[in-house]
Symmetry: C2
Subunit: 278 residues, 2 copies
């Protein structure tokens, strides 16, 4: 697997990098960002995978979250994939904010034309992990997962559906029931077709009801988030209550949906993951 | 002075805001960002003015530096002006990276057409301070100044030329001799005309030689900065040596010119300012 380093900068005595590689799963080139803490100079470190939200690339979290300070202190690598294939030439791929470019929804699409490239579930949960483990100084047995909004949905669904793979799972403002959110419905219909029973494997609440995780989930939610209708945090709480899923749900009064919110609490989430990864 | 709040988000229990106001000095609307720490809820706090570099708006430092965490802890307001007037209709204002939009160089232009609007020295050192003092919960007697690249030049020149106004002065990768830098020469010629003697009031090295500050200057410089020919840190060191200006110059091996560098050390600079402002 050829990995091309396309940018690198020192940050908190570690290294903030961007890589490009040819993805077999998505049948196109993909980019991801990686922060390697100073401890990675001495040997393999645990890794937190961060999944970003709608419209993001691998850059948004890298430049806006301030996570490097905490990751450097805690000795964590942070791996930040892009949110979709890009420029694969599907008609309409740039038409909607919530379908196509920047909106992969961490789904394996089954419907043409998306199914040829939009396989972000397998990309994040399998191929990217193999690429990272094979090329970067990370401990393959110690990884955790987190994300924001659409990426919070991705972290919950990928994390919970792969028991034993991730030591801990957290999310910021996740889309908690993609099959009931307007953004999610449009994306799921495009990627998976009209049979809604196929959608449930990509609906965090449904995934929890069907097979809860043995991990306690840490979920951060801004109390002044303008997208609560899309995020449906009550669906998440109800799914956890009814299934016995342990949930540490923290509502933060006054905080909205943006990266000022994520940046305020990312240190606590990384600390949560570092404890599970120790 | 009417101040329009155009965005606000919670950040580290403080408030990250963007304001627009009508500037008499620049004869146009100007925007600036402000971070108000939680301590500002209880009473006036000291303020650090941050001047950004070429191409920046008030947004870059706000979203990329991670400064809010430190400012919240230290009880500092941070005031972040835009780097130039915008959209004032001067022919060629968007043609160059280093003259016009995003490149005010913290100069009072004397040459038409720039002189009608490009008066960023008076804007930052006078009008913006009056606007902030009159409208935000800051202590007018306690302010400091810092900045990056072109903004480092601005912080040094404005800070040193206004003794008694700022309690402390620092800079990241400053353009240390604008009259000898290619970027600076083009801007100074446009704004001030061909008489180079008029340029020296806006050349940090020359300002230091002519009247050093009683403050020790804190200057952070990346050792892997690709723009050293423009920044001319040796000119700064020589000016300080020859004039007796106290200088704490810290070269950081491996760091480049970007915000990953600024973000790594902004906490130390804010702590330096907080001590002077205590």
């Amino acid at each position: 697997m050829q990995l091309e380093l396309i940018s690198e900068a020192c940050s908190f005595e570690g290294r903030q990098q961007t890589y490009r590689h040819s993805s077999r799963v998505c049948d196109c080139d993909m980019q991801f960002a990686a922060f390697l803490p100073p401890a990675a100079e001495a040997g393999p470190v645990p890794a937190v995978y961060w999944l970003s939200g709608l419209t993001c690339t691998e850059e948004n979290f890298s430049v806006k979250s301030g996570a490097q300070r905490y990751a450097a202190e805690l000795g964590l690598a942070v791996i930040i994939p892009d949110t979709s294939p890009r420029g694969v030439g599907i008609a309409g791929e740039d038409e909607f904010m919530n379908v196509g470019t920047g909106a992969g929804f961490y789904i394996n699409a089954t419907q043409a034309p998306w199914s040829a490239h939009y396989r972000m579930y397998d990309y994040v949960a399998r191929e990217l992990v193999a690429v990272v483990n094979g090329n970067l100084p990370v401990d393959p047995d110690r990884k955790s997962i987190s994300g924001h909004s659409m990426g919070g949905h991705g972290a919950l669904t990928i994390g919970i559906r792969n028991p034993g793979e991730y030591r801990s799972i957290s999310a910021f403002s996740p889309i908690s029931s993609a099959s009931r959110s307007a953004w999610g419905k449009q994306a799921l219909a495009a990627y998976l077709g009209p049979d809604e029973s196929a959608w449930l494997a990509y609906d965090a609440g449904a995934v929890i009801r069907s097979a809860p995780s043995h991990h306690e989930l840490l979920v951060e939610q801004g109390g002044a988030d303008p997208f609560l209708d899309e995020l449906r945090p009550d669906d998440l709480k109800k799914a956890c209550e009814s299934s016995g899923q342990k949930l540490n749900f923290r509502e933060r009064a006054g905080y909205d949906h943006g990266y000022f919110f994520v940046g305020t609490f990312i240190g606590e989430h990384l600390r949560f993951h570092a404890e599970a990864l120790a």
